[in-house]
């Protein structure tokens, strides 16, 4: 057994690539070894800014000899066949042995593959690894042919055994492997040789390099929090930044500094973003004032003046950076939000969907339309929608795109706009993910809905739907956002109607752009598409005052296409809703039973019904009632098929003979009324309670009554009674969709 130590020493590796590169190095080298029969016990990989390192413990020094027996042709086979076999095996006739079987004698080749030395295998594997290493970006340097993330300076490659270490010899494009490396660029002193991983790690540490990135991150975080704590401050957590900074240093030294008073007027998010993005500084908060007042920087070395020069330099850079941020902030404050919004006329949103300004005007109209449905003031929703994206043209957002929305809020506040309008600037992007907070202020809700619905209908209109894993415009997220906005705020809205009008408007705009013509003979076609569409409103929106043209074939196909897109978009919403509700414990069959009911584009109604039904089917009554329903359904289906008629007529009490039968008539009369009232008032719990009351009479009916009675009139009446059970229950949900 031996231990392998491999180090590829290069110029500075980008911090973001180090972790992945260490893992890739480990996988490629160990896979290559194992493939060649060189097994090992364990392996670990490390990265610093200047090196990738792999330590493999318990490496087999020589791969085992492999013995293979290959069955050949019979001894009396044609010469050609035997010659071919010999060629394939790389042997001569003398090397073959002859064996017997039932059919006679045949040749056998015994091929021995001798074991290979680990060092030979490793040399080849390392070269192959370096030549096909999956860097996200790689480069050439000098006049060489190698590609690596940055120029390679040396490769250390040793196998250490009890009797000592030996170099695994190889030469890759002129780089000859050795047993030496260097420490820290400034704190180390020249090259040194190593004999094992332990020796390597210890000598590196003495030369100013902490090999393990996790150790570096831990040191940084512990020192940073201690330094801040000692001054009564706290470090703002930022795991991404911590990992990045750990990849920028080999010997972290944490320093704390002050932010000049001049910049305390800047929003804290601006301070934080500027410091993180440009300087890789951590923000340090004063818990008393809640403000960011200090910063933490991580140097890569110790100095004689304990970092005083380094800190002073960093502080000066920060001053310049924040001066810039202040310049942007003050410039932006001088521009009105309306003027900012006007600049968006020159910014393309999507080449088929027009400019940002056009998009905003669509969102504004829609926000106004949605406002009354969410309890928002229409004028205020309009005002908010008009300026909600204005900050996209601000200097600050140009510099820091991640501050979009937030800057809008600050600028709206500074302009003295109503708080609801300012909030909408920030919150209309929400919710961004499944766990993001859903806005509840009506103005924000109106603009957030309008923004997302405009995006969705727009991309549906131009047929840019998400497919498989591809969703470049985050349309699934937008749909989930709409769903959560509607459900959390119990918004009542017919999505079909809105989708129809929006998609029609997009199509109208496109057509108008293309031909300058308007469409005719549309209403009949339109009415056939979906009964819930508000035709008058559609007509008004779509035509304004223009005269229709005569091209009825084009009209028909256009309207069909609008209708298909609308139906498709609603189906997309229903799919997203199923995924969302499943997490909340509503099963797919329950949703399907509710989706089959009318007004399924009203998501609040749909989900209220589904929740009530889900609760009901879990109860004893619910389960039994479902069994009764299925039984009724099965009997009906079988008899209807046999008789070739459908028993949809009204059953009559006068033909009822048994008591249980009469009782069911009575119960259905009572509960049907109760259900109708409950459904009218959308009291689904009451509807389920009424259904529960049917369980006992239905059970009793099946227990005591023979449906297929001798007398045809009685039988027919009973089948119609079963049908009535189905009809009454379908007023609540389509129970046939339920499993059970």
């Amino acid at each position: 057994m031996a231990d392998l130590l491999l180090e590829i020493f290069s110029e500075e590796i980008p911090a973001r690539m180090q972790k992945r590169a260490a893992a890739d190095l480990k996988k490629l080298v160990t896979d290559g070894m194992v493939e060649a029969g060189i097994t090992y016990e364990s392996a670990a990989a490390f990265a610093t800014p200047r090196r990738l390192c792999l330590s493999v413990v318990g490496v087999l020094e020589e791969s085992p000899t492999l013995r293979e027996e290959r069955k050949g042709p019979r001894v009396d086979a044609p010469e050609k066949a035997i010659a071919g076999f010999l060629r394939g095996a790389g042997l001569t006739l003398d090397d073959l042995t002859v064996r017997d079987d039932k059919k006679g004698q045949f040749y056998v080749a015994v091929i021995e593959k001798p074991g290979r030395m680990a060092s030979d295998v490793i040399g080849e594997v390392v070269e192959a690894t370096i030549r096909r290493f999956p860097w996200p970006k790689s480069m050439r340097w000098g006049a060489g042919t190698l590609r690596w993330v940055r120029p390679i300076h040396s490769i250390l490659s040793i196998l250490s055994k009890e009797e000592g270490a030996e170099i695994v010899p190889f030469d890759i494009d002129g780089i000859v492997s050795g047993d030496t490396t260097e420490g820290h660029r400034f704190m180390g002193s020249g090259r040194f040789s190593v004999t094992s991983f332990e020796d390597y790690e210890a000598k590196l540490k003495a030369a100013g390099v902490i090999l393990n990135a996790e150790d570096r991150a831990e040191t940084i975080w512990a020192d940073a929090t201690n330094l801040a704590f000692a001054q009564g401050f706290e470090v703002v957590e930022d795991a991404g930044l911590l990992a990045e900074v750990a990849g920028l240093v080999e010997w972290p030294v944490v320093l704390i500094g002050d932010i000049a008073e001049d910049f305390m007027g800047l929003p804290p998010e601006v301070l934080q973003t500027s410091m993180r993005e440009h300087q890789k500084f951590f923000s340090v908060r004063n818990p008393k004032s809640g403000r960011i007042e200090k910063f933490i920087t991580v140097a890569n070395r110790e100095t004689a003046d304990h970092g005083a020069t380094i800190l002073a330099g960093n502080q000066k850079v920060l001053f310049a950076r924040l001066s810039d941020a202040k310049f942007f902030w003050e410039n932006d404050l001088r521009v009105s939000l309306d003027d900012m919004a006007a600049k968006l006329k020159n910014v393309t949103f999507h080449n088929k969907l027009g400019t940002q300004a056009e998009r905003i005007s669509r969102i504004t109209a829609l926000a106004r339309e949605i406002a009354p449905m969410v309890g928002a003031d229409a004028d205020m929703a309009e005002q908010a929608a008009k300026i909600a994206k204005a900050d996209l043209s601000s200097e600050m957002v140009y510099e820091f795109p991640e501050l979009q929305g937030l800057m809008g809020r600050y600028y709206a506040q500074a302009a003295g706009l109503p708080q609801e309008v300012a909030n909408a600037c920030e919150l209309h992007y929400s919710p961004l993910g499944p766990s993001d907070v859903v806005p509840s202020e009506p103005v924000s809700v109106a603009v957030a809905l309008a923004d997302k619905i405009d995006t969705l209908t727009g991309f549906w209109a131009i047929d840019e739907k998400p497919t498989g894993s591809k969703d470049p415009f985050a349309l699934r997220r937008a749909a989930l956002g709409v769903i959560r906005l509607i459900l959390d705020n119990e918004v009542r809205v017919s999505l079909s109607e809105i989708f129809m009008r929006r998609i029609a408007r997009y199509e109208g705009e496109r057509l108008g752009r293309k031909t300058g013509e308007v469409i005719t003979e549309f209403s009949a076609v339109l009415e056939n598409l979906d009964a819930s569409v508000n035709v008058e409103k559609f007509r008004e929106d779509y035509f304004n005052d223009k005269r229709p043209n005569q091209n009825s074939e084009a009209t028909r196909s256009l309207l069909e296409s609008i209708g298909e897109k609308k139906v498709n978009l609603l189906a997309f919403f229903h799919d997203r809703l199923k995924v969302y509700l499943k997490v909340q414990g509503v099963t797919h069959d329950v949703i399907d039973a509710c989706l089959a009911m009318p007004n399924n584009d009203d998501l609040t109604l749909l989900v209220n019904r589904a929740n009530a039904l889900q609760a009901f089917v879990k109860t004893d009554d619910g389960e039994n009632l479902l069994q009764g329903y299925k039984r009724a359904n099965n009997i009906l289906a079988a008899e209807e098929k046999k008789d070739g008629v459908s028993y949809e007529g009204e059953p009559e009490l006068k033909f009822a003979e048994a008591d249980a039968e009469k009782a069911l008539f009575a119960a259905l009369d009572v509960e049907e009324k109760a259900i109708s009232t409950a459904i009218e008032t959308e009291d689904f719990a009451a509807a389920m309670a009424a259904l529960a009351n049917l369980r006992a009479p239905i059970d009793a009916f099946f227990d005591g009554v023979q449906v297929n009675a001798e007398a045809q009139i009685v039988r027919r009446n009973r089948l119609c009674l079963l049908n009535r059970i189905r009809v009454v229950m379908h007023k609540v949900a389509i129970f046939s969709a339920l499993n059970g």
Binding site: A15, G142, H153, L248, T309, K316
Partner: protein
Amino acid sequence: MNTEFAGKPTSFQEIILRLQNYWASKGCAILQPYDMEVGAGTFHPATTLRCLGPKPWAAAYVQPSRRPTDGRYGDNPNRLQHFYQYQVIIKPSPPDLQALYLGSLEAIGIDMDLHDIRFVEDDWESPTLGAWGLGWEVWCDGMEVSQFTYFQQVGGQDCNPVSGELTCGLERLAMYVLGVDHVMDMPFNDPQSPTHLSYGDIFLQTEQEYSRWNFDVADADKLLKSFEDAEAECARILAAPITDPKTGRDIIMVHPAYDQAIKASHMFNLLDARGVISVTERQAYIGRVRALTKSCADAFIQTKAGTL
């Protein structure tokens, strides 16, 4: 290295002189600035064209650079619409280029024992030059002092061998070394000299003048016309027959054509500062300048300087 300069430098010009001496001692040809308006030292044909083709090359020079959108009327402590870049370009990139670079920092008085020098990933791309490379921005105590790039492609051509390029904004570097907080306060010549001049004495007024002109007064229509003229002239020059009818010699006029590409690029920068270029148009303009540089690069590798 010239021993005349010992200890810390005292002026902006001393830093420039020290850099010139240092890189001369390392074997670079010390060139003079290119006599056209450019946005960066990379535009100098000593870099853009000479990094193409197989011939070894080593040059260093100061290049006055103009970035109209960065004008701040001389108010910002270190943002200027006109500044100086120091540029070193060596082909093929030597294995000790990082060490050579650190030596240049020592030469201008940066004490390697007190400062924190870092190489932070920064891949360089110039859409107008059709060029890209991998490298770093070099930080000294958190301050970006240089750009360090291994050119992979320029003018759409693969760089083979690869050139190593070092670029730095001289004002920012000098301010740092001299401990000056505002660029306008920086001593330009020796503060002990009878007529001592600060950076502001020389450039404050011009920064104000150019900021106003760049942002508000430049005639956008004339700039646009000038852009189009340069574009047309570049194409016309390269379309000329290789053999000069007068002398009978084969002369590909790469540099005159490239001058027109530089000019178009600067006109684009001025138009941009005037705020008359929309986002969609922007890409189109950049593409037009890139087409010019690309055609110059294609022509250069047909010339003597661009082949073995």
